[in-house]
């Protein structure tokens, strides 16, 4: 049972990370705020470990997932270098946002993230098979499980307060704003047309009257 809860927590955390990387901010926040606390509490209740050990295990799990995300970031960087010529600034902006979000979520130093407009230094290019040198450059002390939970909570609160969705639309990007309005309209049309079979609607009306 304990193992189930533990695996669930791990899965959920990974899923949240995945959703964030896919741009589904709300989905990720939903998992972190609704699903995860319950699963972690259940695991903590079932587990026979001491409180300190529980924290340590959680910390390890978060770090492990973090490492996976870190690898993804590196992969993105690699892609950035490779496809730079093809996709130019557009793709860099997307990757930049992606990196920033991940760094922000995990409390990493975002100043090291390269802005989309910065030229890519040739030194960053890596040769095949060579281990990335970045890890040895500046060792960042891993945050504790409590710190991590606190950061996630603050991040969630900030995001909810600012309401800046993963892909915020700049005020003067009118074309994008119109697209967003039309998309929402289309979505709501689909929603409202789906569950409205004529016969059902009539019978409901008859009942209510």
């Amino acid at each position: 049972m304990t193992n189930n809860h533990w695996e669930n927590a791990r899965k959920l955390f990974r899923e949240a990370c995945f959703l964030r990387s896919m741009g589904d901010e709300k989905g990720a926040i939903g998992i972190l705020s609704k699903d995860m606390p319950g699963t972690i509490s259940s695991w903590m209740a079932d587990s026979k470990l001491t409180a300190g050990e529980k924290k340590e295990r959680l910390q390890e799990m978060f770090q492990e997932e973090m490492r996976k995300v870190d690898e993804s970031v590196e992969l993105c960087e690699l892609m950035l270098n490779r496809f730079e010529e093809t996709f130019s600034l557009q793709i860099r902006s997307i990757l930049y946002d992606f990196q920033l979000l991940i760094y922000e979520v995990f409390g990493l130093d975002t100043s090291s993230v390269r802005t989309p407009s910065e030229p890519i230094a040739p030194a960053r290019k890596r040769t095949k098979g060579k281990a990335p040198s970045k890890k040895t450059a500046v060792p960042i002390p891993p945050p504790s499980a409590e710190e991590m939970a606190d950061r996630l909570r603050k991040f969630k609160e900030t995001r909810l307060r600012t309401n800046k969705e993963w892909q915020s639309i700049l005020f003067n990007d009118i074309e994008k704003i119109i697209d967003s309005v039309l998309d929402k309209e289309a979505q709501s049309r689909t929603k409202t047309t789906k569950p409205k079979p004529k016969t059902k609607r009539k019978s409901t009306r008859a009942k209510s009257s």
């Binding site: 307060r161 969705e165 003067n172 990007d173 009118i174 119109i178 309005v181 039309l182």
Partner: protein, 389 residues
Amino acid sequence: MSSEELTQPELPSTPDAVDVPAETENAVTEPAVGDQSNYIIVGLDLGTNTSCIQAVDAATGNEVCNTVVPTIVGYADRGILAGILPDDSAELFGTEALRNELHLRISRPLKNGVIEDVDAAAKFVKHLRDIVDPGGKATIHAVVGIPSNTDEEAKDNVQKAVSGIFDSAILVPEPFLAAYGFRDESRLKDPEYVDPVKNSLFIDIGAGTTDYCIIQGYFPTPEDQLSMPIAGENVDEQLEKGLAEAYPDTRISLNKVREYKEKYSYVGEPQYGMKVRVPVGGKPRTIEIGKQIGEACNMLLENVFQSLEKVIPMARPDSVFELLQNIILTGGGSMIENLPEELQRLLLESGYENPRVLVAGQDFKTFVANGALKVAQAARPEQWANSKV
């Protein structure tokens, strides 16, 4: 705050005046309408009390109209004698309906900021279209403002009201349009100018709702907005009730009450000397309404302040101090005397640091339509194609 139609500039008097051929290549033209004689872009604010429509010729960019019209439809009484109503019309709109109120059944298509009578709203929109395009031949694409956090039914009603009248319509939240319309792009390089979309809190006190919107450089999401159903109409009701209690032998119509409010409204300490003449049993009598006006408007102030206290924490904590410096009042309610000062005082007393409440200005009736027109001008042809109504 007159209820007159503020037409600026004059409306085109003949169809020819607006039927400008859309020939210019670099204009915002749609391939599908290439054979049309003209093509007009419209920004529309369909308001509870007044509506504003602004239009430009897409080909030339010339202004076609910029008009504020009371949102009123008047249906002629059955059996009315010929010659009483202008052109013996069965339906009159706006100021003309108000002028002939005695012989009409008056309908206000909107209540609390949303359409309540779809048929009347559609007729009213058709009237607005006739102002823009008397010949009825133009292709018209419109951006229409909708209140923040409008539900699906309300949106659907707007779609129905404009369907078949405009060729396509895009519905955009009003607080965004108000801010966008208020923004003066020509002054953005002026160091003295505070860009209202950078970090501001807009409070649009309309007739049906008071809308709050935090704008911090991004298109506001639904969570950035709060709509409260306490607004100008509630002031009217409270004032009507207050006057009926103070002067039980008088009967004052709601339209008259609204007129008094628009002329004398204030908040703060009671003011006196506001005297109006009302008929009592057919005889004129002068009554003092200062106290009642103050009570009704202070009720609105209190509600606006309470909601404001809910909205401010929704802003990002590190942006709040700057945000408090840019609280911008707009809508009809913003014209209430002393409102910014009193709101500022309440905020200060409540512990907020250096709040500054500004009033958008006399042009408040046009901001939403102006923003809508700017959006409409930026829309791509395929976006219009995706929003046929």
